[in-house]
């Protein structure tokens, strides 16, 4: 939470509340390293998954190039997610507020947000997505290294080759499910989310509506400091 504070930017001063910094530049850069490397792995991975999607490898340079870069971009994605773990771990722990919110999640789905209890910087769905990607990337890394150097696994331990295929496919599909929901919610469903991960700021109304406890925390602290 140390990274969030009220921005007093001349560009956004107005009579109707402050712009609040939701994501620092470092968080935004890291998010987009993760996002772009994930999309690369998604396109090339889907190309390897089905002949009907092999054209996705063609648009990023063809099959051999896709095969060459997929594991390296996978490592970039892994590093990026591990960095997220380092900076967001404490924000991502589920709290009692989250559990109350999760019980009322149906109101969230129906856009009846006035019935939801207040929550902190991230909601429980975002936390679930974070942990899905965190544990997912660990499993993808382990199975991916096995697939990368498949011949290094001796014939007598070939069950590891098969396990790696199964884990890589299953976990990749799970992350794709999370990714679809993440992109939908961040771009189409929750207006303001996409701008916040690009420019870092949200309006105070947005913060109050979606993350009231976080809003109170950052405004109180900044006010105290002033």
């Amino acid at each position: 939470m140390s990274v969030s504070h009220v921005v007093s930017s001349s560009r956004t001063t107005s009579d109707d509340g402050d712009r609040i910094l939701r994501y620092t530049l470092g968080e935004r850069v890291n998010h987009w390293i993760a996002g772009l490397s994930y999309i690369y792995c998604l396109l090339t991975g889907l190309a390897f998954w089905s002949p009907y999607m092999f054209w996705m490898a063609t648009i990023v340079g063809g099959g051999p190039a896709a095969r060459f870069w997929h594991p390296w971009f996978g490592l970039v994605f892994t590093a990026s997610v591990l960095w997220m773990y380092k900076i967001w771990r404490s924000d991502m722990r589920a709290t009692d507020a989250d559990r109350a919110w999760w019980k009322a999640a149906k109101y969230y789905v129906r856009n009846e947000d006035e019935n939801l209890p207040p929550i902190g910087r991230f909601n429980y769905g975002q936390k679930l997505f974070f942990w899905l990607m965190f544990y997912g990337v660990i499993l993808l890394l382990l199975s991916g290294v096995a697939l990368w150097f498949v011949e290094s696994i001796p014939w007598s331990l070939r069950w590891l080759r098969y396990l790696a295929v199964a884990v890589h496919v299953a976990v990749a599909l799970a992350t794709i499910g999370g990714f679809i929901i993440h992109v939908y919610m961040a771009t189409a469903m929750v207006r303001g989310g996409f701008t916040s991960i690009i420019r870092g700021e949200v309006s105070s109304t947005w913060a109050k509506t979606h993350h009231r406890l976080w809003y109170e925390q950052v405004t109180k602290r900044t006010a105290g400091r002033k």
Binding site: D15, F48, P64, R67, L147, V150, I180, H210
Partner: protein
């Protein structure tokens, strides 16, 4: 190694059917390896290297006659030696020519994601097309015989072609040509099966090998390389020939039901979020100040 004149029955990673699917015009070709008359001279190994243009590889001493543990990307044909004690206490030096088995249902081809990198010709030969290979190594996981090997400098997979280039010109494979004892035969699958069965019968009836038989595993639809073994109940003794080879179940699941389930799940996810948007729309936060931007 393109064989444009041969019809293609199966193509790896191909969206849609293979042009030659269902073609039955061609005879199935087959190599017969009679392990009971192999003397382990390695002439077949040398002939393979000579024909395909590779040099002899460095050997690894392991206290036996085995020259190297397994085939390599540039060493497609290897005699597997095994000092085997038979149940009645006799020492047998088993020798088996190991190479691609040219399965009727090839696991390498099933696992391969690259369009046209692995093909099965109408005559049954399974061949890698390196110009389409992306070097992913999935064929390594698909093969139940540990045959496809990766060339790290070109990043392509290689294996025995059953001398498709020679067979296409009406010649027998180089290994067959070189065999001095006649333990290697080449012909149609039907002829080779007949020959192998009669040899196995001879071994059972006249040589005291009661368990002699032919190795032509049904789990992969039969193979384009068949063996006569002294003891067909114990193929593992012949340098680890699998008893009941099949395409690994993970690979079958991955390339079969999992593909449908995964594709439907992804499609369902996209349809689901679209329907949500159509039904509930976006969450707009009222922000009088930021009307123009539209995203407050």
């Amino acid at each position: 190694m393109s064989q444009a004149t041969l019809e293609i029955r199966r193509i790896s990673g191909h969206a849609g059917p293979a042009p030659g699917a269902g073609v039955e015009r061609a005879q199935q070709v087959c190599k017969l390896v009679d392990t009971t008359t192999c003397i382990g001279c390695k002439a077949c190994e040398v002939a393979c290297l000579e024909w395909n243009g590779y040099t002899f590889s460095e050997t690894v001493f392991d206290n036996s006659y085995q020259t190297m543990p397994e085939t390599a990307w540039n060493y497609w044909n290897l005699i597997k030696f095994n000092e085997h004690e038979s149940p009645d206490g006799k020492l047998m030096l088993l020798m088996r020519k190991d190479q691609c088995m040219h399965c009727a249902e090839p696991g390498c081809l099933a696992a391969c994601p690259a369009d046209g990198a692995i093909v099965q010709y109408a005559n049954g030969i399974v061949d890698f097309q390196q110009d389409h290979c992306i070097g992913c190594g999935y064929c390594v996981s698909g093969c139940p015989f540990n045959i496809p090997k990766f060339n790290p400098s070109t990043k392509k997979m290689f294996k025995c072609t059953l001398c498709a280039d020679r067979v296409n010109q009406g010649l027998e494979p180089a290994c067959i040509k070189a065999c001095p004892t006649g333990c290697l035969h080449f012909g149609t699958k039907d002829d080779m099966t007949d020959l192998a069965e009669s040899r196995a019968q001879q071994l059972r009836e006249h040589f005291g090998f009661e368990k002699a038989g032919v190795y032509d595993p049904a789990g992969v639809g039969g193979t384009g390389v068949i063996y006569v073994l002294h003891d067909a109940t114990n193929p593992e003794a012949y340098g680890g020939l699998p008893k009941n080879p099949r395409i690994p179940w993970v690979v079958r699941l991955w390339k079969g039901p999992a593909k449908w389930i995964g594709n439907l799940a992804m499609l369902g996810g996209i349809i689901g979020v679209t329907l949500h948007y159509l039904r509930f729309g976006p969450k707009q936060v009222e922000d009088h100040r930021d009307q123009k931007g539209g995203q407050a």
